[in-house]
C-alpha cells in the first residue's frame, strides 16, 4: 500500500475511537497480510473509489462490537440488533471519512461508498487474495483490526 496512505488511516482510527469510545485506545504494530479475509466475526466494510480501488474493513468479535456500540450509545447493549449494527457501521464510516479527508488534503482524491456490515461464522469477502495492511487497535472492549486493501488504479 502506498506509504502516504498509511498515516491518515492510522491517525483517523485512533482519533475517532478515542473520541467516541473514550476508553484507552492503543495502537498495535502494523503488518501486512496476504489475504484480506475478515476473521473475527463482525466486519464493517467501506468501499473506496477514485485514484484507487479497494476497501477498508473493520474486523472485530461480536463481544467487541457490543462493547463498542454500548459505549457509543451510553447504554448497555447485549444483542447484535439494528442499533448495534447501525452504530458500528457509523463508526466505520467516520473513521474512513476522516482518513479520506486527510488524503484529500494531501492531494489524493478518493471517494467512499456506503458502508456495509457483515456478521457470521463463514464470512466471504470476494477480494480474498488482495494484500491488506492491518492496523490493530486495542480498546478496553477488545481489539479492532482495521484491514485496508487498496490498489492504485494502474
Amino acid at each position: 500500500m502506498r506509504v502516504e496512505y498509511i498515516n491518515p488511516f492510522v491517525e483517523s482510527a485512533f482519533n475517532v475511537l478515542k473520541e467516541v469510545v473514550g476508553s484507552n485506545v492503543e495502537r498495535g504494530e502494523l503488518f501486512l497480510k496476504s489475504s484480506s479475509q475478515p476473521v473475527l466475526g463482525v466486519a464493517a466494510i467501506v468501499g473506496l473509489a477514485g485514484d484507487v480501488e479497494g476497501r477498508v474493513l473493520f474486523d472485530m468479535t461480536k463481544d467487541t462490537a457490543l462493547g463498542v456500540a454500548s459505549a457509543m450509545n451510553g447504554e448497555s447493549l447485549t444483542s447484535l440488533d439494528e442499533l448495534v449494527k447501525a452504530t458500528i457501521t457509523e463508526l466505520a464510516n467516520m473513521i474512513t471519512a476522516q482518513a479520506v479527508t486527510k488524503l484529500h488534503e494531501l492531494g489524493f482524491k478518493f471517494d467512499l461508498t456506503p458502508p456495509a456490515l457483515i456478521t457470521g461464522e463463514n464470512m466471504e469477502v470476494t477480494d480474498t487474495e488482495v494484500e491488506a495492511l492491518i492496523v490493530p487497535v486495542q480498546l478496553e472492549q477488545g481489539k479492532i483490526e482495521i484491514n485496508v486493501a487498496i490498489r492504485e488504479r494502474a
Binding site: 502506498r2 503488518f31 501486512l32 492504485e152
Partner: protein
C-alpha cells in the same frame, strides 16, 4: 607417568577442540542455561505481548512476529523461578524456538552468547544442579569456567514423540535444516578430510541465519565460502575465534557482502557505471518501468530515478519501490538529507525545506513507494528493469526460489535484473551481462 598425564591432557584438549554442538546461552534466576542452536530461529527483544485470558500462568501471551502470531512463554514462571517485574514497555529478551513447523517465543532474564562445545563433554544432569525439574534438562556442560544446563526444549514445550537423546549428537545430524540447504548442493562425501572444517562452516552458516537472517544458498555460496576462508585468516585458526558469537560478529563477517553505496545515494562513479549498464536496455515503448523491491529508505531508488532520467531522456520513467520494513519505507517519500550527502547529479532535483533538503516532484513523482510484501502478489504490469540488491540473500531458501520465479514472471524478455554485488544466479533462462564493472542478468526468450 608424565607421558600418561600428557596423553590425557592431549586427549582432553583434542576432545574439547572438536566442536559439534552449539547452544544459545542465557540466564534464568542467576543460573546459566543453553538451548541447542538448531532449535533457535532467532533472538530478539520484545515488549508488546497480547495477553490471552484463561491460559496457563507461564503463558505471557501472544506476539506478532512480522505477521505470524506466536505464543510466548515465560520460562521463569514455568519453572517457578523468581521473575523480575519489568516496567511497561521495557523490552525483554526473547528466544524464538522453531519446533517442527511451530514457532514459540520464550522469555529469559538475559541472553548471553552462542557457545560451541564438544557434545562428548555433556554430562547427564544431577538433581543437585538445578532449580528446575530434572526432566527438563538434557545435560550439563562446563565451558570457559561456567556451568550450563542444557534444556530439553521438546519436553518443556510438551512435544510428544521420541525421548530426548542424551549424550553426544551424531555429526550427521548437525548439517541439514530445511533452510540451510546449501549442504544439499555440496557433496560432503567428496572431502572426508575436511569434515571438521565443514562443520565449522555449517555453524557459521547457521549463526549468520540466526543473527542476521542471512541465508546461505546458491545465490551467495561462492561469496560466503570465499569470505569464510578470509575470515579464518583474519580471526586466526582457533575454533572459538572463528565462530560467530553474537550479532557484532555476524555483522563483521557480512560487512564486505553488501553492494556499493548500500543505504546511501550512489556516488558519481557508481552512477556512471549503472548508466552504462542501463543503456543496453532497448525498448520501443514510451515508458521505462522499473521494480525496486527491498528499497529500504529510498536512497537507492532516488539514485536510480535520476540515472534513468539521464539515460532515457525521451521516455517516462516509473518506479515501483517496495519494502516490508515499515520504519524504513515510511520515511522514503519525504526523505530529508543534508547537502553534503548529495552527489552533484542529484542536486538539480533537490528542494529546500525547514529540516533540510528533500526531492521535488520532478523526481518524486516518478516513484511509487509502497509498504508491501512482494511474496503477496504484485499487481503491476511487466517491467523493463528489476533492481533487487542484497534482497534474496535474506529470504529463506523456499522464498528465494519463489522470488526468482516472481522476477522471471514480472520482467519482460530482454529486461535486466540487477542483484547484489555478491549475489549470482546461474540459470539457463538468464544471460549474464557485464558492463562497467557491474553484473546484471538479461532475461532470455
Amino acid at each position: 607417568m608424565s607421558t600418561i598425564r600428557q596423553n590425557i591432557k592431549e586427549e582432553e584438549a583434542s576432545r574439547i577442540e572438536n566442536i559439534d554442538f552449539k547452544m544459545v546461552t542465557f540466564s534464568l534466576a542467576g543460573k546459566e542455561y543453553g538451548i541447542d542452536i538448531m532449535k533457535v530461529k532467532e533472538i530478539s527483544k520484545a515488549n508488546r505481548f497480547t495477553f490471552v485470558p484463561n491460559s496457563a500462568s507461564y503463558v505471557r501471551g501472544v506476539y506478532n512476529l512480522r505477521g505470524d502470531i506466536i505464543s510466548v512463554i515465560d520460562l521463569r514462571v514455568m519453572f517457578n523461578l523468581p521473575a523480575p517485574k519489568v516496567a511497561e514497555g521495557v523490552m525483554e529478551d526473547m528466544i524464538i524456538l522453531r519446533l517442527d513447523e511451530m514457532l514459540i517465543g520464550v522469555i529469559v532474564d538475559s541472553i548471553d552468547k552462542v557457545v560451541g562445545i564438544n557434545s562428548e563433554t555433556i554430562q547427564p544432569p544431577h538433581p543437585i544442579f538445578g532449580d528446575i525439574n530434572i526432566k527438563f534438562i538434557k545435560g550439563v556442560v562446563e565451558n570457559d569456567d561456567r556451568l550450563y544446563l542444557i534444556l530439553d526444549v521438546e519436553r518443556i514445550l510438551g512435544q510428544k514423540g521420541e525421548a530426548p537423546s542424551r549424550g553426544p549428537r551424531p555429526l550427521a545430524a548437525v548439517a541439514p535444516v530445511e533452510e540451510e540447504a546449501y549442504s544439499e548442493d555440496k557433496n560432503l562425501d567428496a572431502e572426508p578430510v575436511a569434515s571438521e572444517a565443514k562443520v565449522d562452516f555449517s555453524f557459521v552458516v547457521e549463526t549468520l541465519n540466526t543473527f542476521r537472517h542471512f541465508v546461505v544458498s546458491p545465490l551467495n555460496i561462492a561469496w560466503t565460502e570465499h569470505r569464510f576462508e578470509q575470515w579464518k585468516q583474519e580471526r586466526g585458526e582457533a575454533v572459538e575465534a572463528v565462530q560467530l558469537q553474537n550479532v557484532e560478529d555476524a555483522d563483521a563477517f557480512l560487512l564486505p557482502f553488501y553492494s556499493d553505496a548500500s543505504g546511501h545515494f550512489f556516488p558519481a562513479s557508481l552512477k556512471d557505471a549503472y548508466a552504462a549498464l542501463f543503456r543496453s536496455l532497448k525498448t520501443d515503448r514510451g515508458q521505462i518501468a522499473v521494480w525496486n523491491p527491498g528499497c529500504g529508505r529510498g536512497y537507492e531508488t532516488y539514485s536510480l530515478a535520476a540515472i534513468l532520467k539521464e539515460v532515457f531522456t525521451d521516455k517516462a520513467v516509473k518506479i515501483w519501490a517496495h519494502d516490508k520494513d515499515l520504519l524504513s519505507i515510511s520515511t522514503a517519500p519525504n526523505l530529508v538529507f543534508q547537502k553534503e550527502h548529495v552527489p552533484s547529479y542529484l542536486l538539480p532535483y533537490v528542494v529546500e525545506g525547514k529540516n533540510g533538503l528533500s526531492f521535488g516532484p520532478e523526481l518524486k513523482d516518478l516513484i511509487l513507494f509502497e509498504y508491501h510484501d512482494i511474496l503477496h502478489g504484485n499487481p503491476f504490469p511487466e517491467v523493463d528493469l528489476i533492481v533487487a540488491r542484497d534482497l534474496g540473500s535474506f529470504f529463506s531458501r523456499q522464498d528465494q526460489d519463489k522470488l526468482i520465479r516472481i522476477f522471471t514472471e514480472k520482467i519482460r524478455t530482454g529486461g535486466l535484473l540487477v542483484l547484489g554485488k555478491n549475489e549470482v544466479i546461474s540459470d539457463p533462462g538468464w544471460e549474464t551481462v557485464e558492463q562497467a564493472g557491474l553484473t546484471a542478468y538479461r532475461k532470455k526468450r
